[in-house]
Assembly symmetry: C2
Homo-oligomer: 320 residues x 2
């Protein structure tokens, strides 16, 4: 597991979360265990579990339900990635072959289903009907977003749609992490609301930076090709800013109309990079990170609070 | 919806369950609503919801959580069928095109996921952590069974494996229906145990008869081709009995070795039908139905109890 120095003090809990996830394959088909291990040891920064542990510990929750919550959210995330990679036809994630690239589509569908089931089982062990309700609602939001993207010919064409899409895809799980952690602690109503806001803004900053890294990232460190979104005609924030300034760019129009040309992608990336659109997107991400930190005002002091602040900063400064 | 006369008195609750399932697509992508409506109006005898309503009402549960429970179990069942049909490549179910036959695999995967999410959301509305736990464990059992079938080269070759397989595939959901209904009522421990036993034996009888109908059913009434299991090399109870008596049958060996020959399937079906193996399988189903009825002894009297008895009888006498 790759993590960051300011989170070292929760390594022990993150290790317990990893253990709880891996142990789920015991007693099931050995191929499922192999798949789960492959997925869970393929990197991943465990940011969602970290949000759970930090928020919950700061607000007075017990460790065991927090470990369950962190494990269930990371598994829910993993299950959606498995089905997502199948649908996108992605062969690499974090530089490591996806299940989809090695296995049949059938096995990939079922492995995703199995991980959903494990996520739900662990979530049910928390014995909070509120958490179960949030958990299943979040799954609906994520899947509905994917369905809309798949079924509708119409692509994201405005910043408003973009921000809705990244909420469904990423923000909703960050909100679940912070919100549910607060719910199973002794947080008061204003702290619960603050946790939701923190999760939402952190998720937004995280996804915008993810989308920016598709323009400026290092392929080797990212473990996936750069320019993939444009290559697939997917509009993200930097491109949306560029389009607003350059509505008639024909190279970009060609890509969005479905032309698959790697040389064209490289050209358009260069245009977007020199237009200042990357910086505007990063400004938005920094604004979200700041709002995430502001939300923490109603939380008590403590090393977990400082780590939550550093996490917001890390999310926008990372290069991987 | 197709149902049976002795269940007329719960039509009102079954209609509420249908309504609760259909209403789940409101506010989501319209294609999801269309898919859900297609799936839910494609027939289906609503036997699992009937078990929920009858068991729960008899044991003193309120109507509203029973409606939620019935809806969540039927949706869980529906979601697994959607992914199942995709994996099997089935084009027809109950005589009506499967989602898989009209839609892309991607859309089918996501629609299944969406229905899982709706099932979990409704189940969480019951606000019973025990029910949520059973619900997610049942999903694990179902998916694990499918995975084992898909991943292992080794097919079902014994009655023991067959009965394990049909428990995973069918029995587990019938047990969930009866068990969870008892849990949210005022049942005592012995009644909860009896409900589990009823569900288990009813599910076993149901699936054995389903497998028998693949030999002796009417294609038009079934809405699917007869002999499909043998054509795909899947061993069910009548074939297992036949094999025990005729271990050297080469025609059958050819089918099990993967030969796809419709004429050969017809020949082997005739041999199995004239061997008495169908009757032996039906005897087993009748035995299960009797044990289901016996389990009801610890339940109080009432029209729901009589209907549960008739349901066990119906399950083995049905021709569709």
């Amino acid at each position: 597991m790759e993590t960051v120095a300011f989170l070292d003090f929760i390594d022990h809990q993150i290790a317990k979360i990893d253990q709880r996830m891996l142990s789920r394959s015991e007693g099931y088909n050995p191929d499922l265990g192999a798949a789960l291990e492959h997925l869970l040891t393929s990197g991943g920064k465990r940011i969602r579990p970290a949000v759970v542990i930090l928020t919950g510990t700061l607000l007075g929750a017990d460790e065991d339900p927090l470990v369950s919550l962190g494990a269930s959210i990371e598994l829910l995330h993993t299950a959606t990635l498995v089905h997502d990679d199948l649908i996108d036809g992605s062969l690499l994630r974090r530089g490591i072959p996806t299940l989809n690239s090695n296995w049949s589509p059938e096995a990939t569908v079922l492995t995703g289903d199995f991980i959903f089931a494990q996520a739900a089982e662990i979530a049910s062990e928390i014995r909070s009907t509120e958490v179960m309700s949030l958990f299943s609602k979040t799954l609906s939001v994520i899947v509905n977003g994917e369905v809309r993207q798949l079924f509708s010919e119409q692509k994201v064409t405005s910043r408003e749609e973009y921000f809705r899409r990244i909420y469904e895809k990423t923000g909703s799980l960050f909100v679940l992490a912070a919100h549910a952690a607060a719910l199973i602690s002794s947080a008061d109503d204003s702290q619960v609301e603050a946790a939701k806001k923190y999760g939402n803004q952190l998720g937004k900053a995280f996804q915008v930076v993810d989308d920016v890294l598709d323009f400026v990232g290092n392929e080797e460190r990212l473990g996936k090709p750069v320019g993939r979104d444009l290559y697939h005609g997917v509009l993200t924030l930097p491109t949306l800013y560029y389009m607003e300034q350059n509505p008639g760019d024909e190279d970009l129009s060609d890509l969005l109309d479905g032309k698959r040309d790697k040389q064209l992608v490289v050209q358009v990336i260069e245009k977007i990079k020199s237009s200042g659109s990357i910086e505007r997107a990063l400004d938005d991400a920094c604004g979200s990170a700041e709002r995430a930190v502001e939300a923490l005002q109603v939380f008590p002091g403590g090393k977990e609070k400082e780590a939550l602040k550093k996490l917001a900063q890390f999310v926008v400064e990372r290069d991987v």
